[in-house]
Symmetry: none
Subunit: 255 residues, 2 copies
DNA sequence: TTGAAAAATGCAATAACCTGCATTTGCATA
DNA sequence: TATGCAAATGCAGGTTATTGCATTTTTCAA
C-alpha cells in the first residue's frame, strides 16, 4: 500500500494512517505527523485524543505510543523512521522472487517486511514473532517461524533448538538486525542472541546488514561475524558518503 | 438508436458505480462522485447512506471508505470483547505458580494472556507468535515459542515439526482456542491446525476449553478431541445456565 | 525556578449534512 | 398512448462537523 499524495485525506483515513505509523515504529511525534499529513498539529492532537479514547493508542506528551508492544526500550534511543524507510527501500533491491531468506528481528527489519511488494513470492525464515506476523500479511510469502525460548529483551527466539534448526537451512540471503557495527565486524551484547546470529550467518549464502548510520562504529562485547562476511552494508547514507569510507572494499557492497 | 453516455443512470446502476470506485480506490469523495455521475451531492449522500445501511461501505464525513480498509493486524477491536474478559478472568483460577502451560492462539486466549498477574511464575509453550509476544510482557513468565510454518489464516505454527516438538512436552494444562464445540467434542476446519491441537491435548494432563457461548453447538468438519477429554469448559455464562445443561457431567468441570 | 514546547480552550470560516418540499422521472396499468 | 403514483431528485434553509488560528494553561526539562 503506497502513501500517495495526501491531498484530500478524509478524517478516518488520516487516523488509519496515524495508527499505521504507530504500529510500524511504536511511537510518533505530533509534529512529524503534522508535516507528513499536511494538517495542523491541533488536528493531529484531536485525532490522537480520539484514538486514545477508543483505546487504539496511548497518548503521551508530544505524540503517542503503540498500545500493544513496546520493545523499543533497550534498542535505540534516537529512533528515526525516515532513515529506516530509506534503508528498507534499498534492501528491497536485494530481494527477488523465489528466494529463501533468513531474518532476525528489530524495527529496521520490520520496516523492510512492511515494504515488501504484495506480489513477492518467497520463503522467509525468521526468529522474530513480530516479523513473522508482519510477513504473514503478504499472501505470497511462506513464513516459517523458528521457535525457541523467547528472549525477554529482544523478543526473538534463542537457544540450542533454534541454532540446530537454523543449521538445517540453506538460505540465499540473511538479513541481520544490527546492534553493533564497526571495522571489527558485527557485534552484539547478548550471548544467546549472538549464538543464533552466528548460525544465521553460516546458514546463508549472502549476508545483508541494514543499519542506521548512527550505529556504525559502535562495538558491543560479543562478536557475531567479521566484516569480510558481510555482503551488503545498507544505511540511509549515499554509498560514497565519507562515514562509509572506512568500509569500502571490506564489505562487498555498500548500498 | 441513441448512444447515451453517462447520463441518466438508474439509481441501482449508480450505486454499483460507486461501489466499483470504492473497491478501486478504497475511498471516494462525495464531491468527486457528484461530478463524475452528474447528480447532486445530495443524491450521492443519499446513495452513500443507503449503501452504508446495507453494510456495503463505511460512510464518513466527506465521502466513504472501503469496508476492508481497516486491517486488524494488531487491533484491540475483538469481537465479543466483554464476554472474553469474563472468560479470561475465570480461566485465571486454573493457573498457578510453577505450572507448565501449553496454549494455542486466538483472541480469547489473548485476553487470558493479557490478564495474567504480573507476579505469575510459570512456563508457557505456545504456537501463536501473537500470544508469545503478549506473554513476554510478563517479567516472570518463561515463554517458549513453538516454531513452524505459519498458517496464513490462523497465524499459528503448524506442520510436522510443531507436532514433534509438542510430543516432547509434558504440560500441566492445555488452553485450547475453540472454533467448534458441541456434544461430539471439539472440532476445527483446518487439517494442519487439527493435527497440532490433537498433539496439544495428548501432551497435557488437563485441557481447558475457553469459548464464548455463541460457539457452543457449532460443529466443524474435523474432530480435535472428545468431550470426555475436556477438563474445563469455560464460557461467559453462569455454570448452571441452561445452555450448558447438556454438557453437565460430560466435561469434568464447567466454569 | 524559569522558559520553551505542548496541550487545552474558545472562536470563526468553511464544507458537509440533514430536512422538508416542489418537481421530475420511471414504470405499471388502464 | 395516456395516466396515476410512488420513488427519485434537486434545491433552499438551517444545523453540525471539521479545521486552523489565537490565547491561555499545563508540562517538562534544564
Amino acid at each position: 500500500m503506497v502513501l500517495t499524495e495526501n491531498k484530500n485525506l478524509l478524517k478516518k483515513e488520516r487516523q488509519l494512517q496515524i495508527i499505521r505509523q504507530i504500529n510500524l515504529h511504536n511511537k510518533v511525534l505530533s509534529s512529524d505527523l503534522s508535516l507528513e499529513l499536511n494538517v495542523s498539529e491541533d488536528t493531529i492532537r484531536r485525532d490522537l485524543n480520539e484514538l486514545a479514547l477508543e483505546d487504539k493508542i496511548i497518548k503521551v506528551h508530544g505524540g503517542a505510543l503503540s498500545k500493544s508492544f513496546n520493545f523499543t526500550a533497550t534498542q535505540e534511543e534516537t529512533y528515526s523512521f525516515e532513515e529506516k524507510q530509506i534503508i528498507a527501500r534499498k534492501t528491497l533491491s536485494l530481494i527477488k522472487d523465489g528466494m529463501t531468506i533468513l531474518t532476525s528481528g528489530g524495527t529496521t527489519i520490520r520496516a523492510i517486511a512492511n515494504l515488501l511488494p504484495e506480489t513477492l513470492n518467497a520463503t522467509f525464515f525468521t526468529i522474530s514473532p513480530l516479523i513473522a506476523l508482519e510477513l504473514s500479511e503478504h499472501p505470497n510469502i511462506e513464513v516459517i517461524l523458528l521457535g525457541g525460548k523467547l528472549s525477554n529483551s529482544s523478543k526473538i527466539s534463542v537457544g540450542g533448538d533454534v541454532v540446530a534448526k537454523i543449521q538445517e537451512i540453506k538460505a540465499d540471503l540473511c538479513i541481520l538486525g544490527i546492534n553493533g557495527f564497526d571495522n571489527e565486524g558485527i557485534s552484539d551484547s547478548d550471548y544467546e542472541v549472538v549464538q543464533v546470529k552466528k548460525a544465521m550467518v553460516r546458514a546463508s549464502k549472502q549476508v545483508a546488514a541494514p543499519t542506521i548510520s548512527e550505529k556504525l562504529n559502535s562495538s558491543l562485547r560479543l562478536k557475531v561475524c567479521e566484516l569480510s562476511e558481510v555482503d551488503f552494508l545498507i544505511t540511509e547514507l549515499a554509498p560514497n558518503h565519507q562515514s562509509l569510507e572506512m568500509f569500502q572494499g571490506v564489505v562487498r557492497v555498500i548500498l
